[in-house]
Structures are given as structure tokens and as C-alpha cells.
Symmetry: C2
Subunit: 502 residues, 2 copies
């Protein structure tokens, strides 16, 4: 790079870093809000978040940044490949941000704020109608957003793009059709076998201090760097980061359920390994980001389920559990533990669903979302449609809307297009895990608690890529085959075959 | 206010709130850095702090804000008294901020960053020379700052103004001369009597979980609102706030010293009551701020010392201590406890100094600071001057500079003009406490743990005033007499007379 160009590049980078720093600060404000903020601090925090979000938006869409981007788009030939990708990525985000006028952002924020309160009341009152008019406004704003952003095919594609770039309803419909028929069938057959099994873990109380220690030991084992991160407790577990060297996860411990907190920690720990694992040289740059939520979720699902709920992991885990709960774990074998952590139950609530049926909850919601955004479903018809689809998939109707279409907060946040990434995460995880199994002796490594080779494989094939490829490209390049639901379904079927035939 | 003026006022207020929100966010970043941030997060945090500080400075000195201020300065007659004060206060801060060019701010930040590392090395190596050249640069920059700000009399006045508006070296010299001669004499005489006393608390170990519970109980007693604040642990205890409804303090617990954490919590708790106690209607406005560090420190000192180290408080505290440490506290009487928490020792280190000698450490440093800023002392002569003054006051010379002029971090931060506020805090606290004693039966209230009337008195006379008056005016108006060191000295002399004659 010639000195003049280099000088401009530095100035461009400092603008980029400012945006990244402001985003990191927003993450800290939100983390603190969930984890340590005293209750009365909520009102002031909302105002602080709003102020900072507005300032961030100014910097993300500033004319100066636009000028730099235009300049470097004209000088691409003088940039190295990483620099070119970086410019393209920032251009992509910049142009999308510029398409949404501040007036839309303000109106959307205001509507969601009202919608949240309506949703809370509607759920408490088991009365969908109390949420209906705000949800209609949100749908209308989301459709407007899709028009502003532009799209081919379904307007839902425009919304999906924010969470899973490169994905569209055609691909989703095809992936989900396979998942739905096969998982629905599998779920019913497993439930048939398991429904009268009695758990030896039920009715016991599990000291939460000991649970906490176990989660820390497990996180340490899988390679979570506690000098570059921490775990705390919160009502809804999540992962966030202020930098690749400051990655924070939360868990929630329940004295009645030993495995709730543990698998929550493993799930968030999987997200965290990704955030801590970006290429060293990408730190504090635009490239140290996951390209999509789906690929991020593949990492949490891989550690939580493919690894964490494997028989090998149960062999690794049991001695640890016995160390903290010698009395309760005296007669437990790896087999008993394996059966327990894979128990299948009919659940109306998505977040409590087992691995076998989780995607069905997602697909149900996706179908409703798509119909709403495409204008093929009226908001007032959601409850009936929800219950009908639920019955098709699970064989029963939810007894009320709190256990049905009102269960999740996300629609009141206006997060349309986001749910499919959960199912994509499972699909990606299944495909990556199949490849891992073919390259490493996973069962042997996991049962010995030797997680480093697994983490290094993921670092090489996923983490280090950063934002250089789309999620789909990462999976396809790591596994040398097109993205498909088959590996995940094969994984599920193998597991439950073993569990229901032993 | 006519509608057009009201509209402009709203727009002005939203600019003000933006500044307050950004300051609150900076506070959270710093709080998190001291309390929960993982070690490797430091580098990214420094960059985030820098980015946000720069953005804050832009908003604090923006032309738009300047225009609003000029406009309202021209329309003062249409504002109510509170609005007038608010405008005047923002004008004051705005004009000071505008006097300092961004180039000075950048150079100062860069110098302090280098100076901090030199100071760490100099202190470790017991070699003042390693800090000398950076300290010279800082002094030179501080002198430049004084010139930029303008002053009457000593250039030190310009620096002092940032921490204690309305105070100057003439007033300080007069207050401090009295403190120095009387406290130096008192200290020597108390030390003579106490130096061979044996403490029944030494050599014992105090469970830190129990200590933690005691600090929480004490904070609750004095009226700290845990729904609008929290306590955590940090290496250096401090108080910060994100709003009047989110006030956070820290303490540090030492298993060898039962009272270190407890009095630390009381000290920071005193600061916190002030922050939580501002007038409800001033919330989220410029007025919900203390007018100076000295008045803030008066609140921490009042609770830590005047109340916390009183005989009445020992009567209140003892049963609580006995609840957690029944064995260790079996034979302890309120008298023994009172003697213990008021033990006087020769200490080279300010932060470990007792109430009797604390101000002497401050005065020593003040004298050196003033001479440096006035150009009457060369940086290279600091160690000798320090040791000479210390010997005058305490009768011994520090054995090395780590126990002398290199002990505190603040000079490396460039905080010149700040130390005197510690001594002013003691003076103000003494005067407020004298008045409190004349209006309420303090001994009776404190011994019964009835702190509410005390807090309400402080709320009425100090907290609710906010930034409407200068520190000195608050004290004078609350006590109906001019600020003087006499009440504090009288308080000290009474206490130590009792302690040394019983």
C-alpha cells in the first residue's frame, strides 16, 4: 500500500474500530442489565441504551464512513484479499443500514416497547387479543422493512438475511420439510417407548453451589479461557462479548434439575469457544465476527448435544458428578446418565424441548412467521393456526396460548426471521460433527475429557474463518459436501435407536 | 414558558441527558473493569474507554450545546430559579471544557499513560528517578492547563477548581495551618500513650463470608437501598453510579483484619447514600450531582468516622459481630471495640492512616503539589522535600520512596489539585456532625441502630441541594456558621482525650 493510501486506510480502520467499540459497550450494558444491575436501575439503563444506540447508528451510517468505503471500492486492486473482504463486508452492512431511515427505526423501537408490555399482559391473561393490535403493527413494520431492504421471492428473505445471510425460504422449506417429517415420526416413536420410564434423578435436590463448581470444571475442560471470559448467573442464559478476550456466558441453576444448568453452560460455552477462538490477527477488526446466527448456534448445539449428550461424554462426566454428589450418584452408571440426559418428553414450550423435538417447535414458528410476512395469514388467526400445526406435529393441542403462540418474547421484539437459525444451527452442527467423527476418534477423546483436538479442528475450520465466508460456505468447505439435514437426522436416529432398543 | 421556548428547552435537555448518559456508561465501563472484567479484557477496555471518552468530549463541547446555552443565557428571565441554576452550571462546565483544546487532552492522556508505567517501575525499583521525567512533563502540562483555564493568585487554584469549586490556596493554607499544628501534636501525644497497647484482635482470622454478611447488614441499617445499588469486591474500594437508582460500591475483605472491610463499606456507603439521596425531581438532570469532591468525601467520612468509629456505634455493632463471631467476640465489650477501631499507629502510607493523622498526609502532599505547580519546587527535589516534611510532622523519615513520595498512583494520573478534598471532607464532616449532634440525640440513635433520622437530616441539608450550591455554601447553610476546622479538631480531641484517659 502506498503511504497516502495507507494513511487513509488507517483513518478508515479507526472509524471501523469506533463502531466495534460502541457495539462492545452496548453488549456490556446489556450484560450488566441481565446479570448485576439493581432492579431500580432499569429505567435509566433503557435511556442509556437508547442514547448509545442512536450514537452507534450515526457512526454506522456516517457520510465519512461512506466516503471511505466508496474510495476503497475504487482502489480494490491495491488491497490484499483480507482487506478486500473487509471492505466488502463493511459496504454490505453500511448499505443495509442506510436503507432503513431513522424514522422507521424510531417507530419500530417505540412499537416494540409497547408490544412488549402487551405481550406480557396477554400471556398473563391468556388472551391473545391483548397482543394482537401491536403485533399487527410490528408485522406491518417488518413488511415495510423488507420493502426498504429489497428482496427476491418472498419478503421473508429480506428479514432472514439479517440473521442468516445467503439463506432463503426456498432452501429453508426444503431443509425443513425433511426435518419435519422425519423428526415428527422419530419423536412419536421415542415417546411411545420412553413415556412410562421412571427417572432415578427426579425428586432429588441438587446443591447449586456444587452445580456451579461442576459447570466451571466442565467449561475449563472444553477449553473456555477464564482469563478471557467469565460465567455468571441470569434468568435467561446467554453469551455476549466485549472483545475476543472478554467473552461472557451465563447459566441458570435449578436445585430440582441437575442437568439444566450444566447443559446451559455447555451450550453457552460452545458459543464462547467460537468468540474466544477467532484468528489472533483478526482481533479488533470487522473479520472477528461470525457470519450468521446459524453458524454460531451450530457451535453451541455441537457442544451441548452432539458432544455433551453423547455416551462418551457421560463416561467423562460421571466421575465428576460423583465427586460432588457421591451419595446421589452412587449407583448411577454411564448408561443411566446417558438415558437421563436424552430423555424425551412432550413439551409445549420450545426452550424446554429435548433434542428430538426441538426443531419441530422452530419449524412451526417459521411457517407462521413466513405466512404473516407474506400476507397469507392474519394476525388474528395465529392462535388457531399454531394449535393446528402443533397438533399435526405432536398429536396434541396446547391447552392455552401461553403454552402456545404467546410463549416466546421474540415477536414482541420484532425479531422476525431469527428463529430458523436455531434449526439451521442443529443442521450445521450435525454435519460438522459427522466430519469430526470421520477425522478424529471422538468417542475416545470425549470419554477421556480430551477436548483440545476437537476445539482445534473447529478453530481451523470455523473460528479462524471469521466473516470471510458465509455460514453455508464454512460448513461445506469444512465437510466437503453440500449442506443437508441428513447428517443431523442420521445422528438423531442413531442415538435414539440405541436408546430405545437397549 | 412559552411553547417555542419550551420546545427549545426540551431539545437542550435532551443534549444534556445524552452527556449524562454517556458519563454513566463510562462509569459502568470503569466499574466493570475493577470488579468483573477478565484480565485479558484490559486492552480492549482501554480502547473502548478512549473511544467513548472522545465521543463524550465532542458532545460536552458541541456547537449545538453552545448555541442552546447562549440562547438561554439570553432568556434567563423566562426560566424558573432551578432552570436558571441549571443553565449556569452547564455554562460553567461547558466554558471550562472549551478552554482545553483537544490537542492538550490527547497529549495529557498519552503522557499519563507513559507516566503510569514509569511510576509502577519506579515504585518497584525504589528509584524515583525512573518516574522523574514523566512527572516533569505532567507538571508542565498541568501548569499549561492552569494557564488555559485562567486563575487569580496561584495557578494551583485553577486545578483545585476542578475538584473543589470556590476553594483556593489562601483558604486552604489557613485551614490546613490549624489542622497541621493541632493534629501533629495530638497524634504524637496519642501515639505516646497507645504505642505499647496490645490488641485482642491481632493474630486472629476472620471468615470473609461472614465479614461480607456483616457489611451488608450494616449497609442495610444505615439505609443503603439494595434495589437501587449493590456492593461488590475490588482491590481498591470505590463508589460509582449509573443513575441515582443504580449506585454501586465496592469493599475489600481481609481475613487478617476484621475492620478493614467493614469501615471500607461504611465509607463507600456514605458516598452511596448521597448518590441515592438526591432530590427525586432532579433525577436524570444536571442538578443531581455533588458540587465538589470535598462535600462528597464529607459524607463518606461522616459515616465511616464520626458515626462508625463512635462509642455509640460500637454498642450497636457489637451484638452483630457477636452473632457472626461468637467465640472470638465472647469477652469483647463496647469499650474494647471502641479502642480497637480508633487505634493510632505510625503509618508511612496515607491509605492506612488513622483518623488522627490522616489529614497530615494530605497536607504534606498538598504543600508539595502547590510548590510544584507554582514552580517553587523542582521535581528532582520531591523525595528530599517529602521526607523532610514527613519528619517534621511525624518525627521519622520514610525508609524509602515507595513508603514516601511514590506511594500514591494519583500523580501518574495527572490528578493535581485533588488531594486537598480529602482533608476538606474531614473538615466538612466535622462541622456537619457537630450540627447533627446539636439537633438530634445522635448517641442514642446510633447505639440503637436508628439511622433514618440522621440520613433524613443529611438528605434535607446536603443531598437535596444537589448542585444548587457550592460545597462551602452547603456546609455553612446547614450549620449556620462559616466553614472552619474547629469542629473537626474539637471532635478529634474529645475522642482521643476519652481514649487516652480511660
Amino acid at each position: 500500500m502506498d503511504p497516502k493510501l495507507a494513511e487513509r486506510w488507517d483513518s478508515f480502520q479507526s472509524k471501523i474500530r469506533r463502531v466495534l467499540h460502541l457495539r462492545a459497550i452496548l453488549s456490556l450494558l446489556r450484560w450488566d442489565e441481565e446479570v448485576y444491575m439493581p432492579v431500580k436501575g432499569a429505567q435509566a439503563r433503557a435511556l442509556q441504551l437508547r442514547t448509545l444506540s442512536e450514537i452507534l447508528h450515526q457512526y454506522e451510517t456516517s457520510e465519512e464512513l461512506g466516503n471511505d468505503l466508496a474510495f476503497f471500492a475504487d482502489h480494490m486492486d491495491q488491497l490484499n484479499p483480507d482487506e478486500q473482504i473487509l471492505v466488502n463486508e463493511v459496504v454490505y452492512d453500511y448499505q443495509r443500514a442506510k436503507k432503513i431511515p431513522a424514522s422507521w427505526v424510531g417507530k419500530f423501537a417505540e412499537t416494540c416497547s409497547r408490544a412488549y408490555h402487551s405481550w406480557v399482559q396477554a400471556r398473563q391473561g391468556l388472551n391473545f387479543k391483548m397482543f394482537q393490535s401491536e403485533l399487527e403493527e410490528i408485522i406491518s413494520l417488518c413488511r415495510e422493512k423488507a420493502d426498504l431492504l429489497g428482496y427476491e421471492g418472498s419478503p421473508y428473505n429480506a428479514l432472514l438475511e439479517d440473521y442468516e445471510r445467503g439463506m432463503d425460504v426456498t432452501q429453508l422449506d426444503s431443509l425443513f420439510a425433511v426435518l419435519e417429517s422425519r423428526q415428527s415420526e422419530l419423536f412419536k416413536s421415542v415417546l411411545d417407548v420412553q413415556h412410562d420410564e421412571v427417572s432415578v434423578f427426579d425428586g432429588k435436590t441438587w446443591d447449586t453451589n456444587k452445580q456451579w463448581s461442576i459447570t466451571l470444571r466442565v467449561l475449563e475442560s472444553i477449553g473456555f479461557d477464564f482469563e478471557a471470559g467469565r460465567q455468571d448467573c441470569s434468568v435467561h442464559p446467554f453469551t455476549t462479548n466485549m472483545s475476543t478476550d472478554d467473552v461472557r456466558i451465563t447459566t441458570r441453576l435449578n436445585p430440582q434439575h441437575l442437568f439444566s444448568g450444566l447443559f446451559s453452560s455447555l451450550h453457552e460455552g460452545g458459543h464462547a469457544l467460537y468468540e474466544q477462538g477467532f484468528n489472533e490477527s483478526d482481533k479488533d477488526t470487522w473479520l472477528a465476527q461470525a457470519p450468521s446466527l446459524g453458524i454460531h448456534e451450530s457451535q453451541s448445539r455441537l457442544w451441548e448435544n452432539c458432544i455433551g449428550r453423547s455416551y462418551a461424554f457421560c463416561k467423562f462426566l460421571l466421575p465428576l458428578l460423583q465427586e460432588y454428589f457421591p451419595e446421589e450418584m452412587k449407583d448411577v452408571t454411564p448408561e443411566v446418565l446417558y438415558r437421563e440426559v436424552n430423555r424425551v418428553k412432550l413439551n409445549f414450550i420450545r426452550v424446554e424441548a429435548d433434542e428430538c423435538s426441538y426443531n419441530l417447535h422452530i419449524i412451526l414458528r417459521y411457517r407462521i412467521e413466513k405466512d404473516l410476512i407474506e400476507g397469507q395469514l392474519h394476525v388474528s388467526d395465529i392462535p388457531d393456526r399454531w394449535n393446528e400445526l402443533f397438533e399435526q406435529m405432536f398429536g396434541v393441542r396446547p391447552p392455552n396460548d401461553a403454552l402456545g403462540c404467546l410463549q416466546d418474547i421474540h415477536w414482541s421484539h420484532g425479531s422476525f426471521g431469527y428463529f430458523p437459525t436455531y434449526a439451521l444451527g442443529n443442521i450445521y452442527a450435525g454435519q460438522l460433527f459427522e466430519r469430526l467423527q470421520s477425522e478424529l476418534d471422538i468417542d475416545d477423546l470425549v470419554s477421556r475429557g480430551e477436548f483440545t483436538p476437537i476445539r482445534l479442528w473447529l478453530k481451523q475450520h470455523v473460528f479462524n474463518v471469521g466473516k470471510r465466508k458465509l455460514a453455508k460456505e464454512i460448513v461445506e468447505s469444512a465437510t466437503q459436501k453440500p449442506v443437508s439435514a441428513e447428517p443431523f437426522l442420521h445422528y438423531l436416529q442413531t442415538k435414539y435407536k440405541m436408546l430405545t432398543h437397549s
